[in-house]
Symmetry: C3
Protein backbone atom coordinates (compact mmCIF):
# COMPACT_ATOMS: atom_id res chain seq x y z
CA UNK A 1 0.00 0.00 0.00
CA UNK A 2 1.08 3.58 -0.63
CA UNK A 3 0.40 7.03 0.75
CA UNK A 4 1.89 10.52 0.97
CA UNK A 5 2.66 12.14 4.30
CA UNK A 6 2.28 15.93 4.30
CA UNK A 7 4.70 17.65 6.68
CA UNK A 8 4.38 21.41 7.26
CA UNK A 9 7.68 22.98 8.40
CA UNK A 10 8.42 26.27 10.14
CA UNK A 11 11.77 26.95 8.49
CA UNK A 12 15.08 25.23 9.25
CA UNK A 13 15.02 22.32 11.64
CA UNK A 14 13.63 18.87 12.38
CA UNK A 15 9.94 17.92 12.49
CA UNK A 16 9.08 14.51 13.88
CA UNK A 17 6.35 12.51 12.13
CA UNK A 18 6.77 9.06 13.70
CA UNK A 19 3.18 8.96 15.07
CA UNK A 20 1.62 9.52 11.63
CA UNK A 21 3.66 6.67 10.19
CA UNK A 22 2.88 4.35 13.11
CA UNK A 23 -0.85 4.98 12.73
CA UNK A 24 -0.71 4.22 8.99
CA UNK A 25 1.04 0.88 9.63
CA UNK A 26 -1.15 -0.22 12.54
CA UNK A 27 -2.81 -3.57 11.86
CA UNK A 28 -0.42 -4.51 9.06
CA UNK A 29 1.86 -7.54 9.17
CA UNK A 30 5.57 -8.01 8.45
CA UNK A 31 7.26 -6.09 5.66
CA UNK A 32 9.38 -3.07 4.80
CA UNK A 33 8.40 0.58 4.98
CA UNK A 34 9.98 2.80 2.32
CA UNK A 35 9.98 6.58 2.79
CA UNK A 36 11.27 9.07 0.19
CA UNK A 37 11.23 12.87 0.45
CA UNK A 38 9.97 14.43 -2.80
CA UNK A 39 12.20 17.51 -2.59
CA UNK A 40 15.85 18.45 -3.15
CA UNK A 41 16.11 20.87 -0.22
CA UNK A 42 14.89 18.70 2.68
CA UNK A 43 16.01 15.34 4.14
CA UNK A 44 14.76 12.39 6.16
CA UNK A 45 16.47 11.39 9.40
CA UNK A 46 16.11 8.67 11.98
CA UNK A 47 17.39 10.35 15.13
CA UNK A 48 17.18 10.45 18.88
CA UNK A 49 13.72 11.42 20.13
CA UNK A 50 14.41 12.00 23.83
CA UNK A 51 16.31 15.29 24.22
CA UNK A 52 15.16 18.17 21.94
CA UNK A 53 18.66 19.68 22.25
CA UNK A 54 19.90 16.94 19.93
CA UNK A 55 17.72 18.38 17.17
CA UNK A 56 18.99 21.92 17.81
CA UNK A 57 22.59 20.70 17.80
CA UNK A 58 22.11 18.78 14.54
CA UNK A 59 20.76 21.89 12.85
CA UNK A 60 23.57 24.04 14.28
CA UNK A 61 26.26 21.63 13.14
CA UNK A 62 25.04 21.31 9.55
CA UNK A 63 24.51 25.08 9.33
CA UNK A 64 28.21 25.54 10.17
CA UNK A 65 29.36 22.71 7.90
CA UNK A 66 27.41 24.15 4.95
CA UNK A 67 27.13 27.93 5.53
CA UNK A 68 24.85 30.20 3.48
CA UNK A 69 26.24 31.18 0.09
CA UNK A 70 26.77 34.81 1.19
CA UNK A 71 29.40 33.54 3.63
CA UNK A 72 32.88 34.36 2.20
CA UNK A 73 33.91 30.69 2.42
CA UNK A 74 31.15 29.78 -0.04
CA UNK A 75 31.94 32.46 -2.65
CA UNK A 76 32.63 29.80 -5.30
CA UNK A 77 28.97 28.70 -5.47
CA UNK A 78 27.09 29.71 -8.62
CA UNK A 79 23.49 28.52 -8.06
CA UNK A 80 22.45 31.39 -5.78
CA UNK A 81 19.48 33.11 -7.42
CA UNK A 82 16.89 31.74 -5.01
CA UNK A 83 18.82 33.21 -2.09
CA UNK A 84 21.77 32.35 0.17
CA UNK A 85 19.99 29.32 1.64
CA UNK A 86 19.29 27.77 -1.78
CA UNK A 87 22.47 25.91 -2.75
CA UNK A 88 23.37 24.96 0.87
CA UNK A 89 19.94 23.28 1.04
CA UNK A 90 20.78 21.18 -2.03
CA UNK A 91 24.15 20.24 -0.53
CA UNK A 92 22.55 19.12 2.74
CA UNK A 93 19.91 17.21 0.76
CA UNK A 94 22.77 15.35 -1.01
CA UNK A 95 24.59 14.60 2.25
CA UNK A 96 21.63 13.49 4.37
CA UNK A 97 19.16 10.69 3.51
CA UNK A 98 16.57 11.15 0.77
CA UNK A 99 15.09 7.67 1.38
CA UNK A 100 14.76 5.35 4.39
CA UNK A 101 13.96 1.63 4.53
CA UNK A 102 12.56 0.35 7.82
CA UNK A 103 11.74 -3.29 8.63
CA UNK A 104 8.24 -3.70 10.11
CA UNK A 105 7.10 -6.64 12.27
CA UNK A 106 3.39 -7.18 12.97
CA UNK A 107 2.61 -3.61 11.90
CA UNK A 108 5.25 -2.03 14.15
CA UNK A 109 8.45 -0.40 12.86
CA UNK A 110 11.53 -2.10 14.29
CA UNK A 111 13.04 1.19 15.48
CA UNK A 112 15.29 1.24 18.52
CA UNK A 113 14.06 2.68 21.82
CA UNK A 114 15.38 6.19 21.14
CA UNK A 115 14.74 6.40 17.40
CA UNK A 116 12.17 8.71 15.80
CA UNK A 117 11.57 9.69 12.15
CA UNK A 118 12.17 13.32 11.18
CA UNK A 119 11.79 15.65 8.22
CA UNK A 120 14.80 17.99 8.14
CA UNK A 121 13.89 21.32 6.50
CA UNK A 122 16.91 23.08 4.98
CA UNK A 123 15.25 26.26 3.61
CA UNK A 124 14.68 29.40 5.68
CA UNK A 125 11.00 29.77 4.78
CA UNK A 126 8.26 27.42 6.00
CA UNK A 127 7.28 24.79 3.43
CA UNK A 128 4.73 22.01 3.00
CA UNK A 129 6.80 18.91 2.36
CA UNK A 130 5.69 15.57 0.90
CA UNK A 131 7.07 12.16 1.83
CA UNK A 132 6.11 9.27 -0.46
CA UNK A 133 5.50 6.06 1.48
CA UNK A 134 5.22 2.40 0.45
CA UNK A 135 4.61 -0.66 2.61
CA UNK A 136 4.71 -4.26 1.47
CA UNK B 1 12.60 -8.09 -11.75
CA UNK B 2 16.27 -7.14 -11.75
CA UNK B 3 18.76 -5.48 -14.07
CA UNK B 4 22.09 -3.65 -14.06
CA UNK B 5 22.39 -0.10 -15.35
CA UNK B 6 25.77 0.65 -16.97
CA UNK B 7 26.83 4.28 -16.50
CA UNK B 8 29.96 5.56 -18.27
CA UNK B 9 31.49 8.57 -16.50
CA UNK B 10 33.95 11.21 -17.70
CA UNK B 11 35.75 11.75 -14.40
CA UNK B 12 34.46 13.63 -11.36
CA UNK B 13 30.87 14.83 -11.46
CA UNK B 14 27.23 13.86 -11.78
CA UNK B 15 25.71 11.81 -14.62
CA UNK B 16 21.91 11.66 -14.80
CA UNK B 17 20.35 8.31 -15.69
CA UNK B 18 16.67 8.93 -14.84
CA UNK B 19 15.46 8.19 -18.41
CA UNK B 20 17.02 4.71 -18.47
CA UNK B 21 15.34 3.86 -15.18
CA UNK B 22 11.97 5.26 -16.30
CA UNK B 23 12.06 3.20 -19.47
CA UNK B 24 12.84 0.01 -17.54
CA UNK B 25 9.85 0.60 -15.20
CA UNK B 26 7.38 1.57 -17.92
CA UNK B 27 4.31 -0.67 -17.91
CA UNK B 28 4.94 -2.00 -14.39
CA UNK B 29 2.52 -1.51 -11.50
CA UNK B 30 3.01 -0.33 -7.91
CA UNK B 31 6.12 -1.26 -5.96
CA UNK B 32 9.53 -0.11 -4.83
CA UNK B 33 12.61 0.45 -6.95
CA UNK B 34 15.92 -0.36 -5.24
CA UNK B 35 19.17 0.98 -6.70
CA UNK B 36 22.64 0.14 -5.36
CA UNK B 37 25.98 1.30 -6.78
CA UNK B 38 28.44 -1.61 -6.99
CA UNK B 39 31.53 0.49 -6.22
CA UNK B 40 33.20 2.13 -3.22
CA UNK B 41 34.31 5.28 -5.05
CA UNK B 42 31.02 6.49 -6.58
CA UNK B 43 27.60 7.41 -5.12
CA UNK B 44 23.93 7.68 -6.03
CA UNK B 45 22.07 10.96 -5.62
CA UNK B 46 18.55 12.22 -6.11
CA UNK B 47 19.08 15.86 -6.92
CA UNK B 48 17.69 18.86 -8.74
CA UNK B 49 17.50 18.37 -12.50
CA UNK B 50 16.73 21.91 -13.66
CA UNK B 51 19.88 24.04 -13.32
CA UNK B 52 23.17 22.30 -14.30
CA UNK B 53 25.02 24.74 -11.98
CA UNK B 54 23.63 22.77 -9.04
CA UNK B 55 25.64 19.76 -10.20
CA UNK B 56 28.81 21.82 -10.57
CA UNK B 57 28.32 23.35 -7.13
CA UNK B 58 27.75 19.94 -5.51
CA UNK B 59 30.99 18.64 -6.98
CA UNK B 60 32.87 21.80 -5.94
CA UNK B 61 31.56 21.64 -2.37
CA UNK B 62 32.45 17.98 -1.79
CA UNK B 63 35.86 18.48 -3.41
CA UNK B 64 36.58 21.18 -0.81
CA UNK B 65 35.10 19.19 2.08
CA UNK B 66 37.20 16.14 1.20
CA UNK B 67 40.35 17.43 -0.55
CA UNK B 68 42.83 15.17 -2.37
CA UNK B 69 45.26 13.35 -0.10
CA UNK B 70 48.20 15.43 -1.32
CA UNK B 71 46.57 18.47 0.29
CA UNK B 72 48.44 19.26 3.55
CA UNK B 73 45.19 19.04 5.56
CA UNK B 74 44.87 15.37 4.57
CA UNK B 75 48.43 14.31 5.43
CA UNK B 76 47.15 11.82 8.03
CA UNK B 77 45.60 9.55 5.36
CA UNK B 78 47.42 6.25 4.78
CA UNK B 79 45.51 4.57 1.90
CA UNK B 80 47.09 6.63 -0.89
CA UNK B 81 48.78 4.20 -3.27
CA UNK B 82 46.16 4.52 -6.02
CA UNK B 83 46.70 8.29 -6.12
CA UNK B 84 45.53 11.43 -4.29
CA UNK B 85 41.91 10.94 -5.41
CA UNK B 86 41.70 7.39 -4.03
CA UNK B 87 40.92 7.75 -0.33
CA UNK B 88 38.82 10.94 -0.76
CA UNK B 89 36.66 8.90 -3.15
CA UNK B 90 36.08 6.27 -0.45
CA UNK B 91 35.21 9.00 2.07
CA UNK B 92 32.66 10.57 -0.28
CA UNK B 93 31.25 7.10 -1.02
CA UNK B 94 30.72 6.65 2.74
CA UNK B 95 29.10 10.06 3.16
CA UNK B 96 26.77 10.01 0.14
CA UNK B 97 24.14 7.33 -0.64
CA UNK B 98 25.19 3.87 -1.81
CA UNK B 99 21.56 2.72 -2.16
CA UNK B 100 18.23 4.44 -2.93
CA UNK B 101 14.67 3.20 -2.42
CA UNK B 102 12.01 4.85 -4.56
CA UNK B 103 8.25 4.18 -4.37
CA UNK B 104 6.73 3.50 -7.80
CA UNK B 105 3.03 3.94 -8.71
CA UNK B 106 1.66 2.47 -11.95
CA UNK B 107 5.17 2.10 -13.35
CA UNK B 108 6.18 5.72 -12.59
CA UNK B 109 8.69 6.71 -9.89
CA UNK B 110 7.12 9.02 -7.33
CA UNK B 111 9.89 11.60 -7.68
CA UNK B 112 9.14 15.27 -7.07
CA UNK B 113 8.97 17.71 -9.97
CA UNK B 114 12.64 18.71 -9.75
CA UNK B 115 14.17 15.38 -8.79
CA UNK B 116 16.45 13.33 -11.05
CA UNK B 117 18.64 10.28 -10.36
CA UNK B 118 22.41 10.71 -10.65
CA UNK B 119 25.60 8.68 -10.50
CA UNK B 120 28.27 10.75 -8.73
CA UNK B 121 31.77 9.77 -9.92
CA UNK B 122 34.46 10.51 -7.30
CA UNK B 123 37.59 9.35 -9.19
CA UNK B 124 39.54 11.56 -11.61
CA UNK B 125 39.61 9.02 -14.43
CA UNK B 126 36.55 8.03 -16.47
CA UNK B 127 34.97 4.75 -15.34
CA UNK B 128 32.21 2.39 -16.38
CA UNK B 129 29.98 2.13 -13.32
CA UNK B 130 27.33 -0.48 -12.52
CA UNK B 131 24.11 0.13 -10.61
CA UNK B 132 22.21 -2.98 -9.48
CA UNK B 133 18.43 -2.51 -9.73
CA UNK B 134 15.47 -4.43 -8.32
CA UNK B 135 11.75 -3.74 -8.74
CA UNK B 136 8.94 -5.56 -6.94
CA UNK C 1 11.90 -13.33 6.53
CA UNK C 2 13.39 -11.22 9.32
CA UNK C 3 16.20 -11.43 11.84
CA UNK C 4 18.40 -9.26 14.03
CA UNK C 5 22.18 -9.26 13.67
CA UNK C 6 24.05 -8.65 16.93
CA UNK C 7 27.35 -6.81 16.40
CA UNK C 8 29.72 -6.33 19.35
CA UNK C 9 32.02 -3.32 18.90
CA UNK C 10 35.29 -2.40 20.58
CA UNK C 11 34.82 1.38 20.54
CA UNK C 12 35.14 3.68 17.54
CA UNK C 13 35.65 2.09 14.15
CA UNK C 14 34.28 -0.30 11.55
CA UNK C 15 33.27 -3.93 12.14
CA UNK C 16 32.56 -6.05 9.06
CA UNK C 17 29.60 -8.44 9.24
CA UNK C 18 29.22 -9.47 5.58
CA UNK C 19 29.73 -13.21 6.31
CA UNK C 20 26.85 -13.33 8.84
CA UNK C 21 24.52 -11.73 6.30
CA UNK C 22 25.67 -14.00 3.47
CA UNK C 23 25.04 -17.10 5.59
CA UNK C 24 21.53 -15.91 6.48
CA UNK C 25 20.65 -15.37 2.78
CA UNK C 26 22.17 -18.63 1.51
CA UNK C 27 19.61 -20.76 -0.31
CA UNK C 28 17.15 -17.90 -0.83
CA UNK C 29 16.08 -16.62 -4.25
CA UNK C 30 15.86 -13.12 -5.75
CA UNK C 31 14.78 -10.17 -3.64
CA UNK C 32 15.95 -7.21 -1.62
CA UNK C 33 17.81 -7.23 1.68
CA UNK C 34 16.96 -4.33 4.01
CA UNK C 35 19.29 -3.53 6.93
CA UNK C 36 18.59 -0.85 9.57
CA UNK C 37 20.75 -0.02 12.59
CA UNK C 38 18.60 0.32 15.73
CA UNK C 39 20.73 3.07 17.31
CA UNK C 40 21.34 6.81 16.90
CA UNK C 41 25.10 6.67 17.55
CA UNK C 42 26.23 4.04 15.02
CA UNK C 43 25.93 3.72 11.22
CA UNK C 44 25.92 1.16 8.41
CA UNK C 45 28.42 1.38 5.56
CA UNK C 46 29.15 -0.51 2.38
CA UNK C 47 32.87 0.02 1.95
CA UNK C 48 36.06 -1.40 0.53
CA UNK C 49 37.02 -4.72 2.13
CA UNK C 50 40.56 -5.16 0.76
CA UNK C 51 42.89 -2.73 2.57
CA UNK C 52 42.24 -2.29 6.34
CA UNK C 53 43.86 1.16 6.12
CA UNK C 54 40.70 2.38 4.36
CA UNK C 55 38.76 1.69 7.55
CA UNK C 56 41.30 3.52 9.70
CA UNK C 57 41.28 6.49 7.32
CA UNK C 58 37.47 6.65 7.30
CA UNK C 59 37.40 6.78 11.09
CA UNK C 60 40.18 9.40 11.18
CA UNK C 61 38.44 11.62 8.63
CA UNK C 62 35.04 11.63 10.35
CA UNK C 63 36.69 12.17 13.74
CA UNK C 64 38.26 15.35 12.35
CA UNK C 65 35.09 16.46 10.54
CA UNK C 66 33.02 16.04 13.72
CA UNK C 67 35.39 16.55 16.69
CA UNK C 68 34.45 15.74 20.29
CA UNK C 69 32.33 18.39 22.00
CA UNK C 70 35.20 19.42 24.30
CA UNK C 71 37.05 20.67 21.22
CA UNK C 72 36.84 24.51 21.16
CA UNK C 73 35.33 24.44 17.65
CA UNK C 74 32.32 22.54 19.02
CA UNK C 75 31.62 24.80 22.01
CA UNK C 76 28.14 25.64 20.68
CA UNK C 77 26.84 22.09 21.25
CA UNK C 78 24.38 21.68 24.12
CA UNK C 79 23.64 17.93 24.28
CA UNK C 80 26.84 16.96 26.11
CA UNK C 81 25.83 15.27 29.34
CA UNK C 82 26.74 11.74 28.19
CA UNK C 83 30.28 12.90 27.43
CA UNK C 84 32.24 14.61 24.63
CA UNK C 85 31.63 11.72 22.21
CA UNK C 86 27.84 11.83 22.65
CA UNK C 87 26.61 14.57 20.31
CA UNK C 88 29.32 13.94 17.65
CA UNK C 89 28.03 10.35 17.51
CA UNK C 90 24.51 11.61 16.78
CA UNK C 91 25.87 13.93 14.06
CA UNK C 92 27.78 11.09 12.38
CA UNK C 93 24.68 8.88 12.66
CA UNK C 94 22.72 11.58 10.78
CA UNK C 95 25.39 11.96 8.10
CA UNK C 96 26.12 8.28 7.42
CA UNK C 97 23.55 5.61 6.45
CA UNK C 98 21.03 4.30 8.97
CA UNK C 99 19.52 1.85 6.44
CA UNK C 100 20.82 -0.03 3.39
CA UNK C 101 18.89 -1.75 0.58
CA UNK C 102 20.79 -4.45 -1.31
CA UNK C 103 19.47 -6.38 -4.33
CA UNK C 104 19.91 -10.16 -3.95
CA UNK C 105 20.04 -12.68 -6.84
CA UNK C 106 19.73 -16.42 -6.13
CA UNK C 107 20.53 -15.85 -2.46
CA UNK C 108 23.68 -13.81 -3.12
CA UNK C 109 23.96 -10.06 -2.48
CA UNK C 110 24.80 -8.18 -5.67
CA UNK C 111 27.74 -6.38 -4.04
CA UNK C 112 30.72 -5.33 -6.15
CA UNK C 113 34.02 -7.18 -5.89
CA UNK C 114 35.46 -4.85 -3.25
CA UNK C 115 32.31 -4.14 -1.23
CA UNK C 116 31.71 -5.35 2.34
CA UNK C 117 29.04 -4.44 4.90
CA UNK C 118 30.18 -2.64 8.06
CA UNK C 119 28.80 -1.40 11.36
CA UNK C 120 30.45 1.95 12.18
CA UNK C 121 30.62 2.52 15.95
CA UNK C 122 30.72 6.22 16.87
CA UNK C 123 30.93 5.99 20.70
CA UNK C 124 34.20 5.57 22.62
CA UNK C 125 33.00 2.64 24.72
CA UNK C 126 32.37 -0.87 23.33
CA UNK C 127 28.69 -1.56 22.63
CA UNK C 128 26.49 -4.43 21.52
CA UNK C 129 24.69 -3.13 18.44
CA UNK C 130 21.58 -4.50 16.75
CA UNK C 131 20.85 -4.42 13.02
CA UNK C 132 17.27 -5.25 11.98
CA UNK C 133 17.16 -7.28 8.75
CA UNK C 134 14.38 -8.12 6.31
CA UNK C 135 14.54 -10.18 3.11
CA UNK C 136 11.74 -10.63 0.61
Amino acid sequence: MQTTFEIPTRGPGLTEFTPQVSRWLAGQGDGVLTLMVRHTSASLLIQENADPEVQDDLQAYFHRLVPPSDDPSMAYLRHTYEGPDDMPAHIKAAMLPVSLSIPVAAGVMRLGTWQGIYLFEHRRAPHNRQVAAHFA
